[in-house]
């Protein structure tokens, strides 16, 4: 009870999530958008994790993609634990699978979902993006053509 009351007056808790590599470099291009919020991070490899730790708690959940269903389940369970413990108010992700999983779980906890589809998706949204689009509160793409092709999708510039 104390926790809930305390949280109401605190800054919003922001979850920043992206796979290591290109997705994470795009997320980091957002500049310190997380300033003024409490944050925690979810990523897939520890090499990036070390760099992020100065911005908040970092959870490294391991790599997963649709080719490896067992790993997807393992990552899903890790994210489930993390999200239900942390209870973010908002989640921001550039993908990929780990971002998709975290967005759905966070939405279940009442979080707002911000998705920026990766620049590598030129002609159509990523598989993760196509799923998250249905639950996202703000959905951005990095090619104007994509914003015309899908409903509730906005183009607001490019990260890289």
């Amino acid at each position: 009870m104390v926790d809930v009351a305390a949280k109401a007056v605190e800054k919003p808790l922001m979850c920043l999530v992206a796979s290591a590599g290109g997705h994470m470099s795009q997320l980091l291009e957002l500049g310190e958008i997380w300033k003024g919020s409490c944050t925690f991070w979810i990523t897939t490899a520890s090499a990036v994790g070390d760099r992020l730790s100065r911005y908040g708690q970092v959870y490294v959940v391991g790599e997963c993609n649709r080719e490896h269903p067992l790993r997807v389940i393992r990552v899903f369970l890790r994210c489930l634990q993390i999200v239900f413990r942390e209870r973010p108010d908002v989640v921001i992700s550039t993908g990929a699978a780990v971002g998709c999983i975290t967005c759905f779980l966070s939405k279940l906890c009442g979080a707002k979902v911000v998705w920026i589809d990766s620049i590598t998706n030129v002609e159509r949204l990523s598989l993760s993006g196509r799923m998250v689009r249905h639950i996202a509160d703000l959905f951005l793409v990095q090619w104007p053509e994509l914003a015309e092709k899908y409903d509730n999708v906005e183009y607001a510039g490019t990260l890289i």
């Binding site: 919003p12 590599g21 290109g22 470099s25 795009q26 291009e29 957002l30 500049g31 958008i33 919020s37 993609n65 649709r66 080719e67 108010d89 908002v90 921001i92 707002k112 911000v114 920026i116 990766s118 620049i119 590598t120 998706n121 030129v122 002609e123 509160d137 703000l138 951005l140 990095q142 906005e154 607001a156 510039g157 490019t158 990260l159 890289i160």
Partner: protein, 160 residues
């Protein structure tokens, strides 16, 4: 020095072998240095390492006169940041070099926009390498700030 890079996650022997061959044939006379990833074909005609640290990678990009690589975003953004002429050959799903053909789409889009040169098969490489000699990449202007502002506006709205 020509810096050849195929990322570090998966091998891309098709490209490394092809460059090895055209160096041997004398199509490329400049020194080549390559980052080839783990468990890859080891070229006979130039030096290579499996994996470079981020700092060392950036240093090779800076020192290179030209670059050849896969169509990964890390490679493309690295080259564009330092205005280096880059020739990419996309990894293809058909050869199990990647899970989908996003590199093909990226290679097409960025070469259409004049940022890079692309070869779509090893047969096209020798001719493309010659074009790389006097290729001047078009500058890419990313706008991460406008994306951040859009998200900031969304987050501010959340708190009202």
């Amino acid at each position: 020095m020509i810096f050849l890079t195929v990322g570090t996650q998966f091998p891309f022997d098709r490209l490394i072998r092809a460059v090895d061959r055209i160096v041997e044939e004398g199509v490329i006379s400049e020194t080549v240095f390559a980052q080839i990833g783990e468990r890859s074909y080891r070229p006979c005609n130039f030096e290579s390492v499996a994996c470079l640290e981020k700092g060392a990678f950036d240093d090779y990009v800076r020192r290179a006169s030209k670059m050849i690589g896969h169509a990964g975003m890390g490679t493309i953004t690295g080259a564009l940041r330092d205005r280096k002429p880059l020739l990419v050959m996309p990894r293809l799903k058909r050869y199990h070099e990647v899970v989908n053909d996003h590199q093909l789409v990226i290679a097409k889009k960025y070469s259409e926009l004049g940022h890079i040169l692309a070869a779509y098969d090893t047969g096209d490489l020798p001719e493309a390498v010659l074009r790389l000699e006097d290729f001047v990449p078009k500058e890419r202007i990313a706008t991460p700030n406008t994306v951040s502002h859009r998200i900031r506006r969304f987050l501010d709205g959340m708190q009202d």
